[in-house]
């Protein structure tokens, strides 16, 4: 019998091993996924058991959990719709978006940085209070940007080019996140559906997740690629016909004024940028080739996943184009797609002498006992170009504002570098209007990108210089006023 007993023992042991494995699988391996199942109310109850951390701008909360008298203990409260693109919302019923989602582990006190607090909470029985998140946003600049956009649909991103700190990030129309944070499920869901069906699509974050055709602001990247190739200088000249037939097609490219770019037989790259001419840029793009342009664009951050810590949709420069498509892409048409943040990064890199700093929204994360849990330091995202080349691009952008078609970016007494864009979106569709630039040009304090979607309500008659540039000017002024 002993042999049989030994075998039975092994069987019993295997049965228990199976149970050990099964519980480990549920409690460790699948635990996170199970916690996120919408049918699992535990995480919802959990998140309300303790005070969620605040999101702060200049010490003032823009999202805060206030004590409430119901089973949820706390009500999430938001200060102003102008911050909705930053905070997103935190709702029982619709989940979380924006920083509420991206910083959730800190806000709930579950981040591994709070490990020791969690351990001591095990013994003391007091739940870990969520950490508060202080943003790099300047409230004055944020307000100017939000007010300047006003009723227009669009976005503004302002970056300190030397640190990568984001000073303002606005997407319009904003929304009132309080309407989704309400504890009444029916009310919250109704409000959510209203926002979803709103034609202005307020729940979209146009600053970092929506892609737009860049139009002429993309010419900065093509000009940079040209200088970086070593074959061109700002004074290199290009043929200057009224129309340029794209190779292998019957399509002609024209300048926006439908005339020549300046009055001569040739035009310099600097002047092409200054007057924002499509014909020379299309030729330049074809000469450079799509690979050189794409390589340049990727140094600026195209095709890369970036977290600021909001996840940023990668901007895209198309692949596999024929020369005709390359020509179109060189002035920001065809399938070029960018986020406003990406365009702000382009200006920031040139402003910072060719060194692109990693864009960042978080100044510090403080636990409830004011211990610093995280304090991102400025870090280099990529070395886009040397400072001499960056200086040349900057000078061309100064020309575009001071003596060119981007003139509405001018600030009296201060040298501004910039570039407008007016992107077409197909036959009859309203234009996408842009301005990007930085100021002061010689000692930049701010790099900015402004996009106005849907033609600013003017269909195909609005221009980047008329609608986007004045907004950018106000934002830059707000920073320089400090």
């Amino acid at each position: 019998m002993q042999r049989e007993l030994r075998r039975i023992s092994i069987v019993i042991f295997l049965m228990f091993i199976t149970l050990f494995v099964a519980t480990t699988s549920i409690q460790m391996v699948q635990a996170d996924a199970l916690g996120q199942d919408p049918r699992n109310v535990r995480s919802v109850y959990d998140s309300y058991q303790k005070q969620r951390g605040s999101i702060l701008v200049d010490g003032q909360p823009i999202a805060i959990s206030k004590p409430s008298d119901d089973v949820y203990h706390y009500l999430r409260t938001y200060s102003d719709p102008m911050y909705s693109a930053l905070t997103g919302f935190f709702s029982n019923y619709q989940g979380a978006t924006g920083l509420e989602s991206a910083m959730n582990s800190y806000l709930t006190g579950q981040n591994s940085a709070q490990f020791f607090e969690q351990i001591s909470a095990l013994f003391s029985g007091n739940p870990v209070t969520g950490a508060s998140v202080q943003l790099t946003i300047d409230p004055a600049v944020q307000k100017v940007a939000y007010d300047a956009l006003g009723n227009l649909t669009g976005a503004v991103v302002a970056i300190d080019p030397t640190t990568g700190n984001i000073l303002a990030m606005v997407s319009t129309p904003g929304f009132d996140a309080n309407k989704l944070a309400v504890h009444d499920g029916v009310q919250s869901t109704n409000n959510y559906n209203v926002l979803l069906s709103d034609k202005g699509e307020p729940l979209k974050n146009r600053a970092v997740t929506e892609l737009f055709a860049p139009g002429s602001v993309f010419k900065i990247i093509v000009a940079s690629a040209a200088l970086e190739s070593g074959k061109f200088t700002p004074d290199s000249t290009l043929p200057n016909p009224v129309k340029f037939q794209l190779p292998g097609t019957n399509t002609f490219v024209q300048n926006s004024g439908e005339g020549k770019c300046g009055g001569k037989a040739t035009v310099s790259i600097a002047d092409a940028l200054r007057f924002s001419c499509n014909v020379p840029m299309a030729q330049l793009g074809i000469m450079l080739g799509q690979d050189a342009i794409r390589a340049e664009a990727e140094k600026f951050g195209f095709d890369k996943s970036i977290k600021i810590p909001l996840p940023v949709t990668p901007s895209n420069y198309p692949t596999g184009m024929d020369p005709a498509q390359t020509g179109l892409s060189a002035f920001g048409q065809f399938d070029d797609r960018v986020t406003p943040l990406q365009i702000a990064m382009v200006s920031a890199a040139i402003a910072n002498h060719g060194v692109l700093m990693k864009p960042n929204l978080i100044q510090s994360v403080l636990s409830s006992n004011l211990a610093v849990l995280s304090q991102p330091t400025p870090s280099v995202f990529s070395n886009v170009m040397d400072s001499t080349t960056a200086g040349k691009v900057r000078d061309m952008m100064i020309g575009a504002v001071a003596r060119g078609v981007s003139s509405n970016g001018q600030i009296p007494g201060i040298s501004v570098a910039g570039k407008t864009g007016t992107a077409q979106n197909g036959v009859g569709a309203p234009y996408t209007l842009w301005f990007t630039g930085f100021a002061p040009a010689n000692d930049p304090k701010v790099a900015v990108a402004v996009v106005v979607a849907n033609g600013g309500g003017m269909g195909q008659s609005g221009r980047g210089n008329s609608l986007a540039a004045p907004i950018a000017r106000k934002v830059m002024e707000a920073v320089l006023r400090k």
């Binding site: 039975i8 019993i12 049965m15 228990f16 099964a22 549920i26 535990r42």
Partner: protein, 461 residues
């Protein structure tokens, strides 16, 4: 000290009695176990009520007195019995009471009236008393062998009693209960003991003839037809339980028990092969034919499917239990800190999910480890005993605990389909407590004869 010229210790003057080492170890372990229970109760009161209340003693004292009493009974009547079995039983049982009490506190908080902890303590005291009765009134390991056929009749009677009119009751679709005068009882729990005694006694006498195998077919020795008779009847009985009482777990438990015992008795693995094939083909057919089995299978295989989640008798409970376990994570929410009340039947069928949520993976490992240790002690008795009937009885009872843990905890963790069995010693419910404490009593009784048997051999030499 030498015992070489002594044949027995019974006539020795008191001062020369063998020091009951096992009992002293047990005493220390019991102090620890009861301390743990006190700690659990305090933590629950502090966590849920934020205050320690004197009714702590209401929960702590009766249980502790019962534990001390059975310890003293063992000192007098079975001083060489295994030292770990009782403390493990106490830890598991008290942990169950603590968690049930914790769920009660929530029920009180939401103005509910269905409380379980008081009843559980009463049943526990009764069950421990029954274990003491076994230790006192079963004088030796051979005693039960006289009642093999009585056990058969009692076992089958108990097993079939829920099918009787009037007293038989269905709860949650399974007809496993009888109800008399407001009390409900799950006779299948007691039947497993009676049937283990019967199987052990029957197999001990028939093992020679069962071990003889007949012709070879395809190179495999097949038992003779008449030796297959008992297996077939047990198989039919198990399937009857499955079909009539709507419970796969009970059915699997009895059949598994029988297969293991016949294998240990005869050493013929062909019985295992034939037995398992018969059972699983039967269960497979049942899963196709019987609606309630199909539902359980669907809920087991695709519990997160919204269709099964929403279905009546579908996977809602299973999924909520799994959510609870996942919520527990590594360290658990702490006793009183989780939300186990969200799972239906959190205090009985799903108590393991409640404990897993509040004690975490660490707690689950500790609980499983305790069960494994308890079973291992039982199997160890079987290994060391020189009497075949006692060997079979010990391994049978141990295996019943192991298999029941596997079926229940495996049901909650999706290893096997969910069934209506109870978690031994933890779950709320009197029948299960009484049955499992009787098993503990029998194991203690047999283990005492292992040790004293060895001692008398040593003494003869």
């Amino acid at each position: 000290m030498s015992f070489s010229n002594l044949t027995s210790t019974i006539n020795l003057p008191k001062i020369l009695r063998v020091i009951p080492r096992n009992r002293n170890i047990e005493a220390w372990l019991l102090v620890f176990a009861l301390g743990l229970f006190a700690f659990e109760l305090c933590q629950i009161q502090l966590s849920v009520l934020q205050i320690l209340r004197p009714d702590f003693w209401l929960y702590f004292l009766p249980f502790s007195i019962a534990v001390v009493a059975i310890h003293l009974v063992l000192r007098m009547r079975a001083s060489e019995a295994d030292s770990l079995i009782l403390p493990i039983g106490v830890v598991l049982n008290s942990l169950g009471i603590a968690e049930i009490y914790r769920l009660d506190l929530h029920t009180v908080a939401v103005k509910g009236t269905e409380l379980f902890a008081g009843k559980q303590i009463a049943w526990t005291c009764l069950a421990i008393a029954m274990a003491a009765v076994v230790v006192i009134f079963v004088p030796s390991h051979l005693f039960l062998r006289r009642y093999v056929y009585v056990s058969m009749v009692v076992g089958i009677g108990l097993l079939l009693s829920p099918m009787l009119p009037f007293i038989g009751k269905s709860i949650n679709g399974a007809r496993l209960w009888i109800g008399i005068a407001g009390f409900t009882f799950q006779p299948g729990e007691l039947a497993k003991i009676a049937l283990t005694v019967f199987f052990a006694g029957y197999l001990v006498t028939r093992r020679e003839s069962l071990a003889i195998v007949g012709r070879k077919i395809f190179g495999i020795r097949i038992p003779r037809a008449r030796e297959l008779g008992p297996i077939i009847s047990i198989w039919v009985a198990s399937l009857l339980v499955l079909v009539l009482q709507h419970d796969l777990g009970t059915s699997l438990l009895y059949f598994g028990l029988f297969i293991v015992l016949i294998y240990v008795a005869t050493g013929r693995s062909i019985y295992v092969v034939v037995g398992l094939t018969m059972f699983f083909s039967g269960a497979l057919v049942a899963s196709r034919v019987a609606d309630y089995v199909t539902k359980r299978f669907d809920a087991w295989l695709n519990p997160f499917d919204q269709k099964h989640y929403d279905a009546i008798g579908g996977s809602y409970q299973l999924v909520q239990g799994i959510f609870g376990l996942a919520h527990g994570n590594l360290l658990g929410a702490g006793l009183g800190g989780g939300l186990p009340q969200l799972v239906p039947l959190a205090e009985s069928d799903f108590i393991i999910a409640s404990l897993g949520e509040e004690l975490g993976l660490i707690g689950m490992f500790a609980i499983l480890g305790l069960y494994l240790l308890l079973v291992a002690r039982g199997v160890r008795i079987a290994f060391n005993h020189n009497d075949d009937f006692s060997k079979l009885l010990a391994v049978g009872l141990s295996f019943v605990i192991a298999l029941q843990c596997f079926i229940v905890i495996g049901g909650v963790t999706r290893v096997v389909p969910l069934t209506g069995l109870t978690t031994p010693l933890l779950a709320a419910g009197g029948s299960s407590l009484i049955a499992n404490w009787i098993i503990i009593g029998v194991l203690l009784r047999i283990s005492d004869s292992v040790a004293s048997g060895q001692r008398s051999i040593a003494a003869v030499n």
